[in-house]
């Protein structure tokens, strides 16, 4: 989804990487959470793990934890806003 948007932006609007902002298609910007979680995990685990040979495994686990936690949080907020608050007469 995002690569297609990048290609379209580059072809149509003369998009220049690192100068112009990326045109993120509506509803897909949240996918940037995955590389964000990955890179945060890389730096955090790089200073935390005693043995860097096991770093990739630690990074993958932490990335999955962040993504799953964010999805659960989003689902919880979704339930509160769309179901619980209306049920309470809000």
């Amino acid at each position: 989804m995002i690569p297609a948007a990048l290609a379209q932006a580059a072809a149509g609007a003369g998009w220049r990487p690192f100068l112009d902002p990326v045109t993120l298609p509506g509803g897909s910007w949240w996918l940037t959470l995955i590389p964000l979680a990955l890179l945060i995990s890389v730096v955090y685990k790089a200073v935390r793990v005693p043995n860097v040979r096991r770093l990739p495994a630690h990074v993958l686990v932490m990335t999955a934890q962040i993504v799953v936690a964010m999805v659960v949080l989003a689902a919880g907020i979704h339930a509160v806003v769309l179901w619980i608050v209306p049920a309470l007469g809000g």
């Binding site: 790089a46 200073v47 860097v52 770093l55």
Partner: protein, 166 residues
């Protein structure tokens, strides 16, 4: 009798090097693998943010509080801001600082970053800066790690050299 756990050591030079370039502090402590991961992670976040939001996401004057966090990356953040202020922005006598980010079709050099792209780009670069501050502190209060585990090649001061007589 179990060995004492390694004690933290104050390493101000390594902390300064880590502030100059992400990963350089750990490299000076003899941890090249750890330094490479720090460099890739921090620079990936910082330039990933610029990739998403454009160079306009690094703006010391218009986005001061974002830049406060982004500055943790070090001189690289100030260099990118300098390019943005002096090369990308356009003169505007009505603007607070005499220059402002160009709107769409106003400048051939770059377009103003707005909406989700701007927010996400600024967030990525800000997180890069804050994570590098953690790396600087890790270098400043350094705990020697075992050799062979990607840890420090520096020998602890209270550890005898290999082959030394007890």
């Amino acid at each position: 009798m179990p060995a004492d756990p390694p004690k933290d050591q104050l390493e101000p030079i390594a902390a300064v090097l880590a502030a100059v370039l992400p990963g350089l502090g750990h490299l000076s402590l003899g941890q090249p693998v750890r330094a490479a991961w720090v460099f890739v992670g921090v620079m990936g976040l910082f330039f990933g943010g610029i990739f998403i939001g454009g160079i306009d996401t690094i703006d010391r004057k218009e986005d001061f509080w974002w830049f406060t966090a982004q500055a943790g990356v070090g001189p690289v953040a100030f260099a990118v801001d300098r390019v943005n202020q002096s090369w990308v922005k356009i003169p505007d006598p009505d603007a607070e600082h005499g220059v402002r980010s160009p709107g769409p079709d106003e400048s051939p050099r770059a377009r103003k970053s707005l909406g989700h792209a701007n927010e996400i780009g600024a967030l990525w670069a800000a997180i890069a800066g804050m994570l590098n501050v953690i790396c600087i502190l890790d270098c400043l209060w350094h705990t020697p790690r075992p050799v062979g585990a990607g840890g420090s090649r520096r020998r602890r001061a209270d550890t005898p050299a290999p082959g030394a007589q007890a």
